[in-house]
């Protein structure tokens, strides 16, 4: 898939004349002469080029990309891998037994359990009595992918489109791991580090002229667990952070519409027209002012966004069949279905990275320490149809080839039971858990890596969460090492390695 990068940063332009300034930026607030989408290339990046053998990203892919956009679905709280995409029949066989009394007692070796977990919250972990599966399971599609009944729509619709990675691990046993999942760092290191979405938008220039490049939908992680950092840009600077949109055409974005409802479109247009004129007068004295050029363009984009953003989140124009496909017709899946549909519309309109949260706030809705049967059952019903619908819809519109969909969560849930009886749940489980990917050059209908027989440890091809990041960036055509900022040395662990086994050659 070759997509010529459309909007390119022009080179710093010594010798810009007054006349060229006017020609480059267009006179007044008129049509969009966006030959060079400069708005994000302010002074900061140009200045850093001084005498250092390093140049900021020029917005071009480093090698042929396989995907254009990413939809990064994150389920907050910790989805049970054991009952979704890494089914473990042994749990039924040994249900009620302590792990120590099963053939898998080696899993409890404290050295193994604590190997990667740093600063553990002692309240979590150490659940030894195995809990049977709380849902049935079935093989789907030609690939025979086994999926828990809670996610049967995904199984039925997309089994042959997705690649399941069953061997993820992470470094924290509490919900700060939600931040880790996005930026690869231990939660206590806070929000200094850029998240995956911000790396993608920093590395690649925009594909559109009227929407932000990195959009966040749904209720994000709570302030316990990273909050706004989970879609922040850390040291890359706030222009690369995700922009939160609400699926509400009336107020999708802060300050999107005027605080004075009486201001008409004509007035706004007149205001921006005058502003454009005045800024151009100023530009005559400062023809080389990159910030001024960027600002003029930012006003044009802002003005476009005032119309395009509400339009994007208005779903009335979608057919009844499409709405059904996403589960919008059902009360329980309506909300997430709408978000998935908006995600597709954003991608269609050239948004690079959509981060979709489900169940955010506090530790996260999926945090089923108790009554996992009811909890997970209810939550899965909210997302199963919408996610299956999204993948199917992208596929039938021919967008799945260039859109990479990722389904993830901060950690899995423990094979051992927390509590007993009807009220039993599963605890946090950082040692082994699953995610799946679809589209964007990813192989369909395969599984990669494995946990042990009770789903405790990632034993075959284990991957730290940044390997998912590396895979995504690789599909976007980015070599993260080429994006490094001087003075911000990244560790090998930060970069991760692409999971080549699931990538179409």
């Amino acid at each position: 898939m070759a997509h010529a990068p459309k909007n390119r940063k022009s080179h710093p332009c010594p010798g810009v004349t007054r006349r060229s300034f006017l020609a480059d930026t267009g006179m007044g607030f008129t049509g969009l002469a966006l030959g060079a989408m400069l708005f994000r290339d302010g002074k900061a990046r140009a200045a850093s080029a001084h005498e250092v053998p390093w140049t900021p990203s020029d917005g071009r892919a480093h090698f042929t990309p396989r995907a254009k956009s990413v939809i990064w679905i994150f389920l907050c709280g910790g989805v049970s891998h054991l009952e979704s995409f890494d089914i473990k029949p042994e749990l039924n066989k040994y249900a009620g037994k302590s792990i120590a009394d099963t053939p898998y007692k080696a899993a409890l070796d404290p050295e193994k359990v604590n190997k990667n977990v740093i600063g553990a919250n002692p309240n979590h972990g150490n659940r030894k009595v195995l809990m049977p599966l709380n849902t049935g399971y079935k093989a789907y599609g030609k690939s025979g992918l086994i999926v828990g009944d809670w996610f049967k729509c995904i199984g039925e619709t997309c089994a042959d489109d997705i690649a399941v990675v069953r061997s993820l691990w992470t470094v924290h046993n509490d919900h700060g791991a939600q931040l880790t999942f996005q930026n690869g760092r231990h939660p206590r290191e806070g929000g200094t580090f850029p998240t995956l979405g911000s790396w993608a938008t920093y590395g690649l220039s925009t594909l559109n002229q009227n929407l932000p490049e990195f959009v966040v939908l749904g209720s994000p992680t709570g302030d316990c667990c990273g909050g706004a950092w989970t879609y922040g840009a850390g040291y890359l600077g706030p222009q690369y952070a995700g922009v939160r949109l609400n699926v509400d055409p009336k107020k999708p974005l802060p300050f999107l519409s005027s605080a004075d409802a009486a201001i008409t479109l004509e007035e706004q247009t007149a205001n921006l027209g005058l502003l454009g004129k005045l800024n151009h007068f100023a530009g005559v004295d400062y023809p080389d002012d990159k910030d001024l050029r960027a600002r003029i363009k930012s006003y044009e984009l802002a003005f476009q966004m005032q119309r395009s953003v509400p339009e994007t989140v208005t779903l009335e124009s979608e057919s009844e069949a499409t709405r059904r496909l996403y589960g919008i017709d059902q009360p329980h899946s309506k909300s997430f279905g709408q978000q998935c549909l908006v995600a597709r519309r954003l991608v269609e309109r050239g948004v690079r990275f959509v981060q979709l949260f489900h169940g955010g706030g506090g530790g996260g809705d999926w945090d089923s320490h108790a009554d996992i049967k009811a909890g997970h059952g209810k939550l899965a019903a909210q997302v199963d149809r919408p996610i299956a619908g999204l993948i199917a819809d992208l596929k039938c519109r021919g967008l799945l080839d260039e859109t990479l969909v990722v389904f993830g969560t901060e950690f899995g849930r423990s094979p051992g039971s927390q509590g007993t009886g009807d009220n039993a749940g599963r605890d946090h489980h950082p040692n082994g858990f699953s995610a799946f990917l679809a589209g964007g050059g990813i192989k369909g209908g395969i599984t990669h890596g494995a946990t042990d027989e009770i789903g405790f440890h990632a034993v075959e091809s284990p991957h730290y969460v940044t390997d998912l990041h590396a895979t995504v960036l690789h599909q976007l055509g980015i070599d993260s090492r080429k994006l490094e900022i001087p003075g911000r040395k990244r560790l090998d662990m930060d970069h991760g390695k692409p999971i080549t086994e699931i990538i179409n050659s």
Binding site: S48, G227, G487
Partner: protein, 893 residues
Amino acid sequence: MSKSIRRLVIVLVLATWVIGMPCAQATPAHKAAFERHFDRFLTRNLASCSTCHLPSDKKDPESLDDFPHNPFGDALHKAGEQLKRGGKKRDISSRLALIASQDSDGDGVDNLTELLLGHNPGDAKDTPTSAELQQAPTRRAEFAEYLKLYRWTPYEAVTRPAVPQVGTASFLVRNSIDAFVLEQLQPNGLKPSPEAAKVTLLRRVYLDLIGLNPTPAEITAFEKDVSPSAYEIVVDRLLADPRYGQRWARHWMDVWRYSDWAGWTGGNQIRDSQPFIWRWRDWIVESLNADKGYDRMVLEMLAADELAPDDDANLRATGFLVRNYKMGSREQWMEDTVNHTSRAFIGMTMHCAKCHDHKFDPVTQEDYYRLRAVFEPYEVRTDPIPGMSDKKKDGLVRAYDKELTAQTLFYIRGDERTPDQKKGALSPGIPAALGGSLDINPIALSESVAHPDRRDYVRKALLAESRKMLEETRAKFDPVKDNEKTPSRQRSEAQASLAAVRAKHESLVALFHVEEIEDAGHKKTAEWESAAREALAAQRRTPVADATQSLISAQNAAYEIRQKLAPTTQPVSKTVADKATADLKALDAKIESSQKLLATAVTDLNAPPDTAYKPRSTDDYPATSTGRRLALARWLIDNRNPLTARVAVNHLWARHFGQGIVPSVDDFGRNGRPATHPALLDWLAAELVENHWKMKPIHRLIVTSATYRQSSIAQPDGLSRDPDDIWLWRFPSRRMEAELVRDNVLYCAGKLDLAMGGPDVDHSQGLISKRRSLYLQCAPEKEVEFLQLFDGPNTNECYFRRPSVVPQQALALANSQLVIEQSRALAKELSRDNDSPQAFIKAAFLRILARPATADEVEACGKFLIAPELKPDRARENLIVVLFNHHDFVTIR
């Protein structure tokens, strides 16, 4: 240095580290100095221990016997001894100068030539080829040129460089800054720009020094003043203006990581920083306004509790340490403290050495843990303040040493799970490469510091509260207990309630009496004995009164219920009856327990008098502080510390010019970016120290320089030769910081509240509050959205802000309640005095952009105002909105 040369240097530096040392290591400081001396002229094979040493297989050589010199190393070593005997400076350059023309290894080629051609001067088998030797004269000449350049040695104490003598034909050299800048403009083929227009300069210096536009009256006055010192007069006035402190405090709050407390909003759980830390912010503002020396500020921030433990006003300064509080992880807390103390004050990235010796700078992994040991004992606490009896509601939050013997262990590979037990506890220390040492002396603290809850004003506040309670109770019960019409049961209950409160109050009075005697040092005297006996007696009376009260109250309640259930009254429903029965049962139980309590209390009351009163529960702290932090702070501000003053003036420069002389303001190491004007930086650092570290003289020097006063308008030569204005051929324009955008919208409309100090304003009030933005809450997850859109401070770290231009800023300025409301107010105000559209337009430009409107602008705006679809008032409001969105509004030109 040209770009390509710098590039080469970095490649070489990196290459050195990639190759690394196989076994034994040369003294790292010597090796680094050697590399610095030759810089890009040293080839990668010579950036090695083997340039001076013979191969050795010893792993950790402790002496030259373990790791002997080769002939060149030997000569270099002896040159050092020779210089030492002569009482001369024996740095690497002087030593090399002595032996440059010698041929230490006797292979027929002198040492310098061999070094410059990439051959080992201590190895006779390694000689240059004849082809290479032909290059030698050129190479030597280039190196000689290079040696003439100013040698910037950031790890050596500052020596004030001579001010260059430069031609002044076309450019007024107003002070030494200009001479240094001009010295570097000329070789780069650049000419300085003329002075900026008066109005431009005025707005620039106002925004820069006090963060606010000049008013139209101030503009007019300045334009009228044609005296040669008109500008200097303005500068002096602005530096004396308290708004200067508010403006520059925000810069330093960035560097020092100011953060209000953060945590889980649901549970009021404090996870980062602490409540009441705003007092530190106020201390910063006040210190800047008083022009307290930077050295003193560093001392107080790191160790006010050790420097002057009884000085509450300056204890606020330790907010710098308090801010690092981290509920979840002491490890991260310590890591943040080491990391940010070193980056803020000496521009060193010590945190890199948490896991391994620093790859670029002279810091070992052990240095990291020794610096951590300085902070290991410290904790945070909240002390009571006068007039407040509850520390949860308000108090003085501060640092102190809690664990005086806390041990710091060396973590193998930086992993807290693998402390190096063999190495044992590390003593506090600083990186040897920076020179000096820590002079640590434990500090004895006064009773008042160790036992703050026993201060007089605490007792006063508690007594006042207790007295108030007593008065209130009395006011409530007095009318009842003396009123004949009130049933006697109620009267006795009122009496008992009052008695209970009074007993408590009397007990407090008696207790405080003993405390005062004890605090005066009169324990065990007769006076004390009698007071202690009285205190115990009062404490014994309290439970009697309490039990009596609860007994009477329960008896009354039970009586009431029985009355209701009496057969004479109306029958009640079953639910009511059942509840009554249950209540009665509970009350009977309470009566019984109260009777028992009363009996016990009476027995206690009748016990023989004694002095064993029950002391008050107080927070008590160690009576000693380790003195470690004070020693560190004194080392930091020692004039011989090479980095502190350089880093400080660089911060000042960076905020005046939008870029530091060392652009990586928090990293002066080899992985940071090189200084553009190293001699100027050193000169300014020397100037700072000589001015007793006072910052106002440095500000004055900078903003009155001709360099600062240049126009920011482009010149073709400058643009083509130096598009990024590295050499300062013009004043670099920049965007206002977030706080200035918000403050000036309010200020231009005449609505900004300039009040100083006080608790942070909730972040949800960002668009409503009229306070200056530095007083708005600023903590992770509790930030003002409007400010964040304009790249407001990242509370985690914010050594330098990088302004972005994004469409959300356009939306915020065009659509927010803040801008629309202020625009209306301003339009109304300006219309009052300016009837004609032209007058209105001119007044609006002067107020918002602080400059007159041009004819083109007046014309364009005039057309806008007469647009037929709008009422004139509305069009005027819209014009103001447009001006607040003008690029010139958010830009400092």
